[in-house]
Symmetry: C2
Subunit: 546 residues, 2 copies
């Protein structure tokens, strides 16, 4: 370590040094840990940013606009199953388009998300740990809640910087008006309010197959059935809306309509690319496909060697992604379009025969690597080099800050709250070894479950005072987190404690927003009578002060 | 299914149809299951073999000799850790040479071995399930046993067909004279009789680190120590010999000598390539490096991100393999040399921090995929196409039959015993989808533990009569074998039972050879006094009729 660096570290308070190196970003408040890194690398990063900005500006000069950004994110997938040919073979399905994307750009080996759909999506939209916006649960109807209006999304930020913005498919950000995607900064949005389970399984066929129990009234003796409103029959599946306008329900919930909506979302995404390719403004499109369909459709026999609907779904997803990439090429905007494709969290073990825990242990909902370390790829011909494997730590929150940077929108990032996302443009443009983070505080629900620093992981959840086992992991030696260590990593006890203290101090200074509650489906023009009954029940609950 | 095929299947008895389609191979006796496949595909395979032979003959015409064959096999490795760049990153080490080999040839995703060192090596040498030659245990000194003389090895077969043959490094095929590699068909051999544990851990440093307990006399109160011969002090680590000659001990066992021997074996392998490259006879070299060194050497700091000696070893192994490939190129024999590089079984969990169970569950010693499904690569420029992922089922036994075919030596394969190995030349030369097996009977020790057919696996070990759980697995849906099925796979109960009955009937007709016992270290000229004392103890045991 140089004398200058030592001087610098000694002169800066960790929590005071919470700004990133560029002028625009000077006011952004990051988590405490980033201050420690900033003190050590601020000058180096500032220098590197000059080169990074020059690359972006050169492209801007050439194309006349900032780059288009397409963020594709799908559900519940084990790391390694897609984008790695050898592992396709092991699983008995084929993802040629994602494999090609891996060949054509970056394969991330350490992209962290939150452990489930809603939190990861909130994190991507806000650049903040989901717990900060109260978006830490996975909600089902009746929810009566969602993403608070005062959260500032990447769509809002890029809109301010002159982007067209659109959202398609699975939002899962709540059912209250302020949470709708077109009310959260997107010019246009067609999206599902909840996850796939209700339309996919909650009906007679799902009940008959044992995938849902008790939703239909078939299993209930009619003479004992008193409350007709208790089961959530009137929920809304999919809506469409434009910024500043009311929403409309597109397709009422049913298995058939769910299938239609998946196809529709893909068509909308393709159409959006065609519509905006030659627009004078660049576009940001979040396309988070529902895609899973785990009820056997007699019209579509399973053709994978795997023989499961899950594999069939993954192959359809791959085909969809291939169509998106092809459309970008066809429109000739490939060199000015960043595509990021990734899963939102680990596999959901509850669906039979569908998913398995591959190289990592733990699935959806878990703070273990299997829950939060996901398949992720990025391509951008001319800007991102081909065939890169990037081992840098990067998180879904970082996409917020990085997309803002690419869109010349960093100055619109709010400076009154903690932004967990770090600008990782250098990783995308300069490759492996350029991450600006080496830590991640992992939450499951509202609980701080674990903290990762470098290849080390300390588990807080279940940790008890004293010398107990199963608290420390070395992720290189033991990627499956099967052999908790203690004696070998006592040196890391203190440093991890300090990290938590710093993080807790920042949380105290910038408290979490409580989970937002409200009346569902307001702002939707064409509610059915069934939904109005359902809405009234929930409204009554809300009004009695939940 | 065509009428002709139906006719053919109906006309052939499974157990009678145990011959492969080529003329030379007509008399080879395979396991019963192969008869079933032969009845269905014999004609097709015979036709395909014409093309395969033409390719081999064309090369023969060009080079004037049959191809050189280099078989590299290392210990205890989780599938996926080497040869897949993304997984290198996850583990924190780098195997650039194996990754290049994967790019340059075939990556197998379903190469099966036996579950531990000795059985896998016996299987490779004999083309037979290790249980057939009594080589199913992993022996430590004092062993007094080894590979029976009447087994016919690939070295004997290729010698008869005019090959130079050599063996270097880890044989682990026993300590009796008939088992020595130069007595089992190799022209020259420098090899270790046992595995790495004795020299690596059985000494004061290993004992001080807790890796061995009680081998040195330090922990024993001297006045109570009566028997001075009980601990196996006089074993032989490494010997060298030439066909028809006596052996000599090279380096007496010690950690330092073990390290020297690893380096020496690599030098010998490289030198052999140089010596035989331009010989008029082709060569077959089995190089099965010891390579692991899990005692920290203060002279060699660990430089991998992983930080473990295991990772350091894997990187050294990779470097060694790189040197072998480079030497083959340098000698200009690349296009006439098949290199197969593979692990011998899954990871050994007992060594702390060294290995982990990656995509598959179970390690060394286990019949689960993690014990028997290994990293395996093949390269042969001009004959094997680049960048292939091969999902075909193939086993280490098949290498025997395949190497024999390549060496025009099939006619020397014995026809008085079951040969489990199948000629898989078509997979190597024609690629994915050309395997001639879809089954594998898995033994752990002398026990028939499981049977694999296609993607299905039936576990016999622990299986009880009646409808018990945990007996059937679908390896595509559940590669980690975590969710045993029964109800979903009742259709497979009968077919698996039939397989076992066929296999058992063949075993009855061709009984297993009992494990061979004898006096160790006979035929070694320069035994030390310590070894002579040790040998006497074991000889006395043998003479009292073990």
């Amino acid at each position: 370590m140089t004398q200058t660096l030592i001087q610098k570290i000694l002169s800066v308070s960790a929590i005071a040094a919470l700004t990133v190196g560029t002028v625009n970003a000077a006011e952004i408040i990051h988590d405490a840990e980033q201050g420690i890194l900033q003190a050590q690398y601020g000058d180096k990063w500032a220098k590197q940013d000059v080169g990074v900005q020059a690359k972006l500006d050169a492209l801007y000069k050439k194309t006349g606009k900032r780059p288009n950004i397409i963020h594709i994110m799908w559900d519940d997938n084990s790391y390694g199953e897609v984008g790695v040919k050898a592992f396709n073979k092991i699983r008995g399905f084929d993802t040629p388009n994602l494999n090609t994307m891996a060949d054509d750009g970056i394969t991330f080996t350490r992209m962290y998300t939150e452990p489930s759909c809603t939190p990861t999506r909130a994190a991507a939209l806000t650049g903040r740990l989901a717990v900060r916006s109260g978006m830490y649960t996975v909600a089902f109807p009746p929810e009566g809640g969602g993403l608070p209006a005062e959260e500032v999304t990447i769509a809002e930020i890029l809109s301010e910087a002159g982007y067209n913005t659109a959202f398609f498919a699975k939002a899962h950000q709540g059912d209250i008006e302020e949470s709708y995607m077109h009310n959260q900064g997107f010019d246009e949005a067609t999206f599902s309010l909840y996850n796939q389970f209700p339309p996919m399984f909650w009906h007679e066929q799902g009940e008959g197959s044992g995938l849902t129990i008790g939703y239909t009234k078939n299993g209930t003796e009619k003479k004992y059935l008193v409350d007709e409103t208790w089961r959530p029959y009137g929920y809304v599946m999919d809506v469409t809306g434009k910024k500043g306008e009311k929403a409309r329900e597109t397709l009422p919930p049913s298995l058939e309509n769910y299938r239609k909506s998946s196809i529709k979302h893909q068509e909308l995404a393709l159409d959006y690319i065609r519509r905006k390719a030659n627009d004078k403004k660049p576009f940001y499109m979040a396309y988070w496909p529902n895609v899973y369909d785990l009820i056997a459709d007699p019209k579509e026999p399973v053709t994978t060697s795997n023989g499961s609907l899950f594999a069939q779904n993954i192959e359809r997803l791959d085909r969809y992604i291939g169509e998106i990439v092809a459309e970008v090429k066809k429109q000739g905007i490939e060199e000015n379009t960043l595509i990021v494709a990734m899963a939102d969290n680990g596999p959901m073990a509850e669906v039979p025969s569908a998913m398995y825990q591959n190289v990592f242990n733990g699935g959806k909902g878990s703070y273990k690597e299997g829950g939060i370390r996901v398949a992720a790829f990025a391509q951008w011909p001319g800007m991102i080099e081909k065939d890169q494997i990037v081992g840098d730590m990067i998180t879904v929150h970082d996409l917020f800050t990085t997309f803002a940077k690419l869109g010349n929108a960093t100055k619109h990032i709010p400076t009154d709250r903690i932004i967990d996302g770090i600008d990782q443009t250098a990783v995308f443009l300069e490759g492996d070894g350029n991450s600006r983070r080496d830590y991640y505080h992992v939450y499951t629900g509202p609980v701080h479950a674990a903290t990762i620093k470098q290849q080390f992981k300390r588990v807080w959840l279940g940790g008890r005072p004293g010398l107990v086992k199963n608290d420390f992991y070395n992720l290189y030696l033991d990627p499956r987190e099967m052999r908790g260590m203690m004696a070998q990593m006592l040196w890391a006890w203190g440093p991890f404690d300090m990290m938590k203290k710093r993080h807790d101090a920042m949380n105290k200074k910038y408290p979490f927003i409580p989970t937002r509650h409200g009346v569902p489906f307001e702002g939707i023009e064409n509610l059915t009578p069934q939904t109005l009954i359902y809405q009234k029940t929930v409204r009554d609950t809300m009004n009695t002060g939940k």
